[in-house]
């Protein structure tokens, strides 16, 4: 009994359970929406979303091909969420990841299509662009004390309009289709090297982006938990004043964190667009990838490995929308489900408290004083 209780009190276990509850509730609400839209076909619709590419199960090659596509599309989502959770651990809400991702698109497509450079140069350019965008937010935060969320939002739009101007030019964009030229035909050497492509039904978009994503997640895990740098960042995130007291360089850490976070977001863009799977077209709103990354980061319990699982799940659902019968439903229903799941992630704390209920008596140390301390800490936070 005791053992069981302590298992459920473990914060990692609770996080996982809470995330699963969010996902299930989200799917349930999604089903209700389908029911409202078309009661007689709702079950079929939900089946299509969840069955997803497994409907090709008669042919393992096709199945693996579509599995591959899902993996490829999950890569930027996962990397964006890694960028966000990394900054979050240092106490920074990098809502600017969306813009950093956008300028990452700008850099990778401009270098590959207009300048005709090799893939690894394009990747470095994307990282640099994202990092620069992160740096600007960080600079404003550290030097002028502008809230990083506000600075990030501004930088998102500046990044978007800049990208529209640059990528809308004749060198990069096919003016007749209003899409950027396909890298495959203009500059194949800018394409990322393929990886296990044959295994996944000759999916040409299966590139080294996949293993690299896993490696990035592991590196972030190690940096956060094993290094003095991670120790500093997390200390700053938990308590900025204490970090200052301890002699940590807050200015440098804020900027460095957002530079790294931005670099990862920019990198995410290159890991997607340099597969050639998609072209950029002029957009009137900031690409949602960075925002979705926030969602994935929270759904993944703000854990680098959790983000991989959550990213795959979210991408799986989103792709599922395309398997809906458009006579009855439109594919955005899946987006709606994803948004609901993210919304529900806000309730994780509540779910966890629910799990802790009844067991609180065992926590003898949580006394009156520490409750008021918590409130005080919260008050100390910068707004």
């Amino acid at each position: 009994m005791d053992k069981k209780a302590s298992f459920f009190r473990k914060s990692s276990v609770q996080t996982i359970i809470a995330s699963i509850i969010c996902a299930l509730l989200g799917i349930l609400v999604g089903f209700v929406i389908l029911l409202i839209m078309n009661p007689s076909h709702a079950a079929e619709g939900m089946g299509a979303i969840l069955r997803n590419f497994f409907k090709y199960n008669q042919s393992s090659t096709t199945l693996l091909y579509y599995l591959g596509s899902t993996l490829v599309k999950a890569v930027p989502l996962i990397l964006c969420s890694e960028a966000i959770l990394f900054a979050y651990k240092a106490g920074l809400f990098n809502i600017g990841a969306a813009g950093q991702y956008t300028v990452g698109i700008l850099a990778s497509l401009y270098t590959s299509i207009a300048l005709g450079l090799s893939w690894w140069v394009c990747v470095l350019a994307a990282i640099a662009a994202g990092a620069l965008w992160g740096f600007i937010s960080g600079f404003f935060k550290a030097v002028f004390n502008v809230n990083e969320v506000i600075a990030g939002i501004m930088m998102n739009w500046i990044g978007l309009y800049l990208t529209n101007i640059v990528l809308g030019g004749k060198k990069v964009m096919d003016q007749s289709t209003s899409k950027t030229y396909n890298i495959l035909s203009t500059n194949p050497k800018a394409l990322l090297p393929t990886f296990l492509s044959d295994l996944f039904g000759h999916n040409q978009y299966m590139t080294i982006a996949l293993p690299i994503t896993v490696i990035v997640a592991i590196i972030i895990l190690v940096v956060l938990n094993k290094t003095t740098f991670g120790y500093e960042l997390k200390a700053t995130g938990h308590n900025k004043e204490a970090a200052k007291y301890a002699g940590m360089n807050a200015t440098r850490n804020v900027i460095l964190t957002l530079v790294i976070s931005g670099g990862i977001a920019g990198f995410a863009a290159s890991m997607f667009y340099l597969t050639g799977i998609e072209q950029y077209s002029i957009s009137s709103s900031v690409p949602g990838m960075g925002f979705n990354g926030i969602a994935v980061a929270f759904l993944g319990g703000l854990h680098p490995i959790g983000a991989i699982v959550a990213g795959l799940f979210i991408e799986y659902l989103t792709m599922g929308g395309q398997y809906l019968d458009t006579n009855y439903f439109n594919p955005q229903v899946a987006d709606l489900m994803v948004a609901i799941i993210i919304y529900l992630c806000g309730f994780v704390l509540f779910f966890r408290n629910l799990m802790n209920k009844g067991k609180t008596k065992a926590l003898t140390n949580v006394n009156d004083e520490s409750a008021s301390d918590k409130k005080k800490d919260a008050n100390d936070q910068e707004v």
């Binding site: 404003f140 009137s284 969602a295 439109n330 994803v338 948004a339 919304y343 008050n379």
Partner: protein, 314 residues
């Protein structure tokens, strides 16, 4: 030039309303990053009313019902924030972001379903046309073509200023954003006041949403959401230091830039500069970033904003 004034007035009206909405929410202690989403819901509801109203409906009917629908939709959608952030103490940045995503996805789904149903399965678009509705709001003063929306926004601005400084209710609301424990100790229900703040932001945000899409356009693609207007309003609010009269003039300032991106080719000396319209779009963001940097030392956000209030933890 007339066009520039018209556009400026429209954008200013939108920004004032939505930024005031943000202000009421933050003054009560809740950061509202979901203004964008609230606007989308308001815009959608208003547009649907305009589409559904019979062609021979009177101007007054159209105006009243459209505004009402937008406001109600805004209030309802702001409940997403209120419930999560006040009752469940959720992360306010996350919830705001989620609401924005939710709104765009929901609006797309709903409008598409709406169109599909109305067209017997021939129209799958996320677009609504409301030419009659749009025209109903127009009002001519000499050469200047303005919209009822602007007049309504001006009235609401005056009301907000009076309300903010002169009423019991607003005094209590502001206390909750500064020192909720103090408010609680004199018997003010902090949860209720925060609900009021968030719902007020829903009301104003919803109205801002319909003005944004209907004052200058007669058609709207809902898969675009409201293209960042909510975030711009947030910048206006901060620029305006969480005070209604300052918000008003910062909104006008921002609106001028925004309008320039739309009409710069129509103004001779600007057209000669050959600056792409997109660049004007960028201006307000760059300007606000710089201004924020210069003023952040004096900026005074409500002290308790962003911190969930817990009655037990005192």
């Amino acid at each position: 030039m007339i066009l520039l004034i018209q556009y400026t007035l429209i954008f200013a009206a939108v920004l004032i309303l939505v930024a005031l909405g943000g202000m009421f929410s933050e003054r009560s202690g809740i950061i509202n990053l979901g203004l964008e989403g609230i606007m989308v819901f308001g815009a959608m509801a208003g547009a649907m009313v305009m589409v559904l109203l019979p062609a021979d409906a009177s101007k007054a009917t159209i105006i009243i019902l459209t505004m009402l629908a937008a406001a109600v939709a805004g209030v309802l959608s702001s409940l997403f924030i209120a419930v999560a952030c006040i009752n469940f103490k959720a992360d306010q940045t996350l919830i705001g972001t989620a609401l924005n995503m939710l709104a765009t996805a929901a609006a797309t789904v709903i409008v598409k379903a709406f169109n599909t149903a109305r067209s017997d399965g021939t129209d799958f678009s996320a677009k609504l046309d409301y030419v009659t509705g749009h025209k109903a709001f127009l009002l001519h003063i000499g050469e200047l073509e303005i919209s009822w929306f602007i007049i309504i926004a001006a009235i609401l601005l005056v009301c907000s200023i009076v309300f903010f400084y002169k009423t019991t209710f607003a005094l209590r609301l502001r206390a909750c954003g500064e020192h909720p424990q103090a408010a609680d100790s004199v018997g003010i229900n902090v949860y209720k006041m925060r609900y009021a703040g968030v719902l007020l932001s829903g009301f104003l945000g919803g109205l801002g949403g319909i003005i944004y899409i209907a004052a200058a356009n007669s058609t709207w693609h809902f898969d675009y959401g409201v293209a960042g207007a909510g975030f711009l309003a947030l910048a206006v609010m901060i620029f305006g230091q969480w005070k209604p009269e300052r918000i008003a003039w910062s909104a006008v300032l921002f609106a001028v830039f925004r309008s320039l991106s739309n009409v710069n080719s129509g103004i001779d000396f600007l057209a000669k500069l050959h600056i792409p319209g997109t660049l004007y779009n960028m201006f307000p963001y760059i300007v606000s970033l710089i201004v924020l940097a210069l003023t952040s030392k004096n900026s005074r956000a409500p002290k308790a904003e962003g911190i969930p209030y817990d009655k037990g933890a005192r």
